[in-house]
């Protein structure tokens, strides 16, 4: 079984159960390729879907392969339960402190969009808080023993330009991603997280109800994650897009308005097209309405920053700069990138005493690439 067939199998596993899809033809996995397949199933966090594929009979594994898959799934589910325990404790602490919050992705989508939570694995906890409460939420996490992975480049950088910070407790190693918006870069600045927080749903866990984005907000969140997150995108976010749009109670008119007002139409379209293409599943009929309009040029330019080489060569930072309104905020953003606090530089470098010279040389390379690319585009017009 070659890599192309491995890819096809993983996509079939991810897509199983979606409306409009026929059950795949039966397929067995030769022992020679099994270790690789199992590794990829675990890495893509689709052990639950793989277990269901075996139960449905089209994924034909030997007893030993099934046992290994079950063992991997058990480990994944055990971790999910640990994350959920953390959610219960932290959500209570946020509530006691009067910090409004919504659970993003992970447990919220597993418990509200999928037929069973075992079909949607997750690795960490994502919480969205209003920007005005972000620093208090960071302090609460710090006060409960969590350590922030990266300090802010400059004070108040996060609440002005950032997306989220990662906090980990040394005892459990579970990452808590504290968000003030959904994505990094221009799209995260253009959207209005406070309005998202005005439209909440809930889900039940451990005998309690937890706040989450309603299905429309959840779809927006997973679509942005699928379109602008990993490049190339992972399978679970793509499945999430089709899962929420087919099983959720989405208000399509509101989604279309948000897409228009927050310049997210191109990102939404990219998410649906990529998900449909990767999982060979139709875009739900209700979603087709938001795919018909063209993508404005500004959004197209911003989208390019998240893809391929540009992403790893400062594309998102440069796109963020162009999305920031006003000379002074732009200057504040640039100065934070050029001359962040020493602790930030050291944390980014992973070693104590990392110099600014290395950072500046990277920034200079980005600028050179951007200027030469921009010049080529300008001359090409």
């Amino acid at each position: 079984m070659d890599e192309t067939r491995h890819d096809a199998l993983l996509r079939s596993i991810s897509a199983r159960g979606l409306p409009g899809l026929a059950e795949p033809d039966p397929i067995a996995v030769p022992d020679a390729g099994w270790v690789l397949i199992l590794g990829r199933v675990r890495a893509q966090r689709i052990t639950g879907a793989a277990m269901e594929s075996v139960a449905e009979g089209w994924l034909q594994l030997t007893d030993e392969q099934t046992e290994q898959l079950l063992s991997a799934h058990r480990r994944a589910m055990t971790w999910c339960l640990s994350v959920e325990r953390k959610l219960v404790v932290l959500s209570e602490a946020f509530q006691d402190a009067g910090i409004p919050h919504a659970v993003l992705k992970g447990p919220s989508i597993a418990h509200s969009a999928y037929p069973e939570p075992c079909l949607r694995s997750f690795a960490d906890l994502d919480l969205l808080v209003p920007t005005c409460e972000y620093e208090r939420a960071c302090a609460l996490l710090d006060g409960t023993g969590h350590r922030r992975r990266l300090p802010e480049p400059r004070p108040r950088f996060d609440v002005r330009f950032g997306k989220a910070s990662v906090h980990t407790h040394p005892d459990d190693g579970i990452e808590v991603d504290l968000h003030r918006t959904l994505v990094l870069g221009p799209f995260g600045l253009w959207l209005d997280p406070e309005e998202l927080l005005d439209h909440l749903g809930s889900f039940w866990l451990g005998g309690r109800s937890f706040p989450r984005l309603d299905d429309t907000g959840m779809l927006l969140n997973v679509a942005l994650h699928a379109a602008l997150g990993w490049s190339p995108p992972r399978l679970v976010p793509l499945r999430d897009v089709l899962q929420v749009s087919s099983a959720g109670d989405v208000e399509w008119d509101r989604l279309a308005r948000w897409a228009r007002d927050w310049r997210l139409a191109g990102a939404l379209k990219l998410a649906f097209m990529t998900a449909s293409d990767a999982l060979a599943a139709p875009v739900p009929a209700a979603a087709r309405g938001i795919l018909v309009d063209g993508t404005p040029r500004r959004e197209t330019r911003a989208l390019r920053a998240y893809k391929g080489e540009r992403r790893s060569h400062g594309g998102i930072s440069i796109a963020t700069l162009s999305a920031i309104s006003g000379i002074r905020p732009k200057a504040a953003y640039v100065s934070a990138l050029v001359a962040p606090h020493r602790q930030f530089v050291a944390a980014r470098g992973g070693v104590e005493g990392t110099s600014y010279v290395r950072r500046w040389s990277v920034l200079a390379r980005w600028a050179t690439r951007w200027i030469s690319g921009h010049g080529r585009r300008t001359r090409g017009r």
Partner: protein, 98 residues
């Protein structure tokens, strides 16, 4: 009359669960110990999402499996005792107190 005759049983309020194939992982927020239920214990567990007396539970399990209640009586009682000991099931009075 045994106190168990009238006691009602239900999941502990803070249980967290996940299905893993044909088995079920069960834990609690207050106690990180992880328990794996299989076979008949999964059936008993599923029924206890709603509070009920032991005799009602035995009747339901027997009905599901198409057997006489006396045939599953001992196993169900043992299973409920084990779940109580693990702390993942409570009698409703405990539940109300907790």
């Amino acid at each position: 009359v045994s106190p168990r005759t009238f006691a009602r049983y239900v999941w502990a309020p803070d249980v967290l669960t996940r299905r893993t194939g044909t088995t079920l992982l069960v834990t609690r927020v207050a106690d990180p110990a992880l328990h794996e239920l299989s076979g008949g214990a999964c059936a008993v567990w599923g029924e206890l999402s709603v509070s009920q007396t032991l005799s009602a539970l035995i009747d339901r399990i027997a009905g599901t499996h198409g057997v006489e209640p006396r045939e599953v009586n001992d196993q169900v009682r043992e299973c409920v005792d084990a779940l109580l000991a693990l702390g993942v099931v409570r009698t409703e009075d405990d539940h109300l107190d907790g």
